[in-house]
Symmetry: C2
Subunit: 338 residues, 2 copies
């Protein structure tokens, strides 16, 4: 029943040729080492017959390359990162690479452990959306000479290449959009303060509030979760004077908002407007289609991969810190008020 996998030695035994010759033929180095056509044919034929597939583990040990990229995200169940993972996996597939995946569960400790695991597996490169405040473990990996690119989340103070959304611009645009629609009492519900994108968004938002001379705004919240959106919205609704618009910093937070608003029988956008970061196919089908600031997920992935491969190939990077502008997708959750 259990047919053992065949290896290069099996081919050697069957053909009577040495393993080195076989290896060379199979790696297309026949010309270079002047191996005869006839020998090549034999090798290919027998390899085929034996259903030979090179043992990558052995190959990797010798070559120091694994044709493997690791992807570390804070939460695979978050559609945003799931999409990233899908993209990356499919993109890497095309180049013969395979993807190791790790969900750090927004836990820096786990992230550290997984990173160690991954490094010990000699991956050729790492794509990571780190979840913590400190990047020392990441920087150590980089100083080990392992190509690494951050995406979405990053460390502004470290010299680690990253690709992310221009969150300042996005948040500014979002804030302006609200203000220009007449909103003067705006509540922002943010995510994790440990996350650079969150901080940048907050700054962008606050900057516009200042520019526009709006003082009646709040920034609350602490996590990129439905629960956080729900809780913070409930708190907002307890206030005597309610905000006219909520600016949510993630799709998950927005869901929480919707839930809370529904419980209070408040309509979007008639009673309160809602603008959120992150796009998702579902947004079109919600009770009220949400106007959202769509991050260029595709481009972020593609560029992150491109940078990573540049590092792997030891090419010079012209830029290694990239910010891409998001796009505001207008739906129906923001009302014009006078």
């Amino acid at each position: 029943m259990s047919v053992k996998k065949s290896n290069i030695k099996d081919i050697s035994k069957v053909t009577g040729l040495s393993v080195s010759t076989i290896s060379r033929v199979l790696n297309g180095k026949a010309k270079q080492y002047r191996i005869s056509e006839k020998t090549q044919e034999i090798v290919f034929k027998v390899a085929e017959e034996l259903d030979y597939v090179p043992n990558q583990v052995a190959r990797n040990l010798k070559l120091g390359k694994t044709k493997t990229i690791a992807l570390i995200v804070p939460s695979l169940s978050n559609p945003f990162f799931a999409n990233m993972a899908a993209q990356v996996s499919i993109e890497l597939q095309k180049t013969g690479y395979i993807t190791l995946i790790s969900d750090s569960n927004e836990n820096e400790e786990i992230e550290r452990e997984e990173l160690t695991q991954i490094v010990s597996r000699n991956v050729d490169g790492i794509l990571i959306s780190p979840c913590g405040n400190y990047g020392d473990h990441i920087d150590r990996v980089r100083s080990l000479g392992i190509p690494l690119v951050c995406f979405d989340r990053y460390y502004a103070n470290l010299e680690i290449p990253y690709v992310s959304t221009d969150n300042f611009w996005g948040a500014s645009e979002g804030a302006r959009y609200l203000v220009e629609h007449g909103h003067k009492r705006i509540a922002c519900i943010q995510g994790s303060k440990q996350s650079v994108p969150n901080e940048v968004r907050r700054k962008g938002f606050e900057e516009v509030m200042k520019q526009k001379g709006i003082s009646d705004f709040t920034v609350t919240g602490s996590e990129f979760t439905v629960q956080n959106g729900y809780t913070e919205t409930l708190l907002l609704l307890q206030k005597l004077v309610k905000p006219t618009a909520i600016f949510s910093f993630s799709n998950t937070i927005a869901l929480g908002c919707i839930k809370a608003l529904k419980e209070f029988d408040l309509r979007i956008p008639e009673d309160i407007s809602l603008l959120t970061f992150d796009n998702h196919p579902y947004l079109d089908y919600l009770s009220v289609p949400l106007t959202s600031i769509a991050q260029p997920v595709n481009d972020i992935c593609k560029i992150a991969i491109k940078l990573l491969f540049s590092l792997i190939n030891k090419e010079e990077l012209s830029t290694n810190q990239v910010l891409l502008r998001p796009k505001i997708i207008l739906r129906k959750s923001v009302n014009s008020i006078s």
Copy 2:
């Protein structure tokens, strides 16, 4: 800048001990090979100092084990599989395993290639939700002695262990639920006919139609996609006599239904009822919360992993083909009609 990773030889050089001794200490086999306490201390200390992490690739080559599990799904961007992936990744993490992920993109050819890649990497086990009609490539992997478990989708005719939803029961219950709410014209929109779950669901549905003496039903559609749901719903709405209820076989299909219904200004459930397979956090927030047949994703993952580890540990399996009952989550998309 680039500090090289240290290996067991470096420790050997620093301590003056042989690599075998160091390996034994580090693997907790000191007692067994009577290595003195003092020597152990030295080894641990130096290993720590050198920031030593064993090279898994070398270890794997020697041991034939990689502490790696591969997960192959038809589409990571489908929330259903993304959730699976998140679950699996986190679950495996706990046992020191790491997850290789592959998105076959509903393409059997890609699935084959990825499978080859994965096998060549000596993974310890494979979890797969196969996307094709034929399981020969899967069976070949199994006959290679590589532990493999199918989940969600499987091959009923092959002796490959699987864990899935009791789709017959789920579809029957769903169908009964509709009939008992007075529906007599029911349109079923199915997904891929290549998928066993789809076929089983269809049979469950048709069985109930027969039992209940309902002849005015249809089964159409061909893909688990939004587009398919959209198209098929549009077609249904062209008919002179429209169905009173639509039974969608996936969350993606349901989204397509909603889109089409919206375009026709039809309300759910007043004008037409909608029942769907798959649950998702978003379903609660849709314009009308969808009543759904929730697959026990968590349990499927846990059991699939359990089976896989049984295979890995060469334990006897009492059962290796498991079907778990889904749960109908009542929301508001199905109307009672008289």
